[in-house]
């Protein structure tokens, strides 16, 4: 027993920075195990902030920041955190980083701070963040946990950015606030009011899931 344990430790020490296993940790959440489309987590903010690309991008960056740093700290503290209060400890760590993001946005990106309003604060309740802390960071080393958090954050980010892209183009005829259809001389482009409502996000999200599952062949277990 002691021997195998030691072997594992030495094996891990020599593991390259981006070994196959670590690549899998990062890449899996992008597609095969995507937090939004496969695990169906973090839907609330995916619906709420995705009407325009700019706030969506800031939201994606905020979530990425919060996930990476709370995973790092949870992982560093994983042997000290008492099991009985681990959830509230994770929550405290996440909440601290979320408040930090909120304060920084307030100081240096006041307009976006106001546009995102409550949804930055609601990162605290984003199941993806806490899910990764509980499922991964509590039992893995800091570097691996950061990679895992980064992967999940990217999996979340690319989906909400894709949804925001379609919603802004179809709903407002714009990309990052730039009037796309006016620029190409199609100013009568019929914008779709449905796309700016959460219903539009459901439809886009559903289509993305459809395409994705057709390609990966993923089927829900019954």
């Amino acid at each position: 027993m002691a021997e195998t344990l030691e072997k594992e430790i030495t094996k891990k020490k020599t593991e390259p920075l981006l070994s196959k296993r670590r690549k899998k940790v990062v890449l899996d959440p992008l597609n095969d195990d995507n937090p939004i489309t496969i695990q169906v987590l973090g839907i609330c903010s995916a619906l709420a902030v995705t009407t325009q690309l700019k706030p969506t991008l800031v939201m994606a960056l905020s979530v990425t920041f919060v996930m990476i740093f709370s995973s790092l700290f949870t992982s560093l503290l994983r042997n000290l955190i008492p099991g009985r209060v681990r959830i509230i400890v994770q929550l405290a760590i996440i909440a601290s980083f979320v408040i930090l993001v909120n304060e920084v946005l307030h100081a240096y990106a006041f307009d976006i701070y106001k546009q995102l309003s409550v949804f930055v604060g609601l990162i605290i309740t984003n199941c993806i963040v806490m899910g990764r802390l509980e499922a991964f960071a509590m039992g893995n080393k800091p570097y691996d946990s950061v990679l895992d958090a980064f992967g999940s954050a990217m999996g979340y980010s690319w989906i909400i950015i894709a949804v925001a892209f379609f919603r802004e183009v179809l709903g407002s005829g714009k990309i990052f606030g730039f009037a796309l259809f006016d620029a190409i001389g199609w100013s009568s482009f019929p914008t779709n009011g449905l796309m700016v409502t959460p219903v539009g996000a459901f439809i886009i999200l559903g289509l993305i899931i459809w395409v994705q599952r057709t390609k990966t062949g993923y089927v829900e277990q019954h």
Partner: protein, 252 residues
Amino acid sequence: MQRSNTYVIIFSLVLSIILGGLLSLASAGLKPAQMKAEEFAHKRQILRAVLDTDMLDDIVSVYDNQISSFVVDAQGQIIETDEKGNKIIAEDIDIGKEFKKDPGERFYPIYTYRTQENPDDIEAYIFAAYGNGLWNNIWGFIALETDMNTISGVVFDHVGETAGLGARITEKELQARYKGKKMFDANGNLESVNMLKGENNRPESLDEHHVNGISGATLTANGVNKMIIEYINYYQPFIAKYKKENAGVASL
């Protein structure tokens, strides 16, 4: 591994103190930048009622040169000091705090705008407004031309309306819909300007007192409608006095 209760309590305490301390530090350290951002946003917002601020390089200096301000009470009297004798500055008035007071006891700031080309005559009067949106407070500034009837511009903002829906009241395109609309009807009664339900209303329904609303955010639009009529009504004593004083000039 089961830890002792003492360990759990000490761990929680230490973690709370560390995280709390870090957050207080961050909050205190970022405070000046936040205040500056807020002051800048406030001045820019008032200017937005009359100017396209995206075209301006130095918003603060334009504000300082072309905007002057004063405060009136509910009777339309200009007041300079509060009951304790402190000077009242319009920019320092927290309209949100005033909103919580009884309308009769509130301070109402008024900002006057002069163009760069003609610094002698007032071009527009900017009135503040505050109200309730769907989720949280909304506010705005309404600029009226010197006839105290024609809207030369409006600007709206909010605390927590839904991004992409109610939050669209901050969009320039939406605010531009109010330009040129009239506050009062032909008999001088306050009619206000209301957002209709939905975005694609027939042109004939968009008369002097109506503009297109926001699809999916009718409740926010209702809040905006209520806010405008309420606040212009609060400013009515001042407006009436102004109209009386300028009646001779206006008829020329």
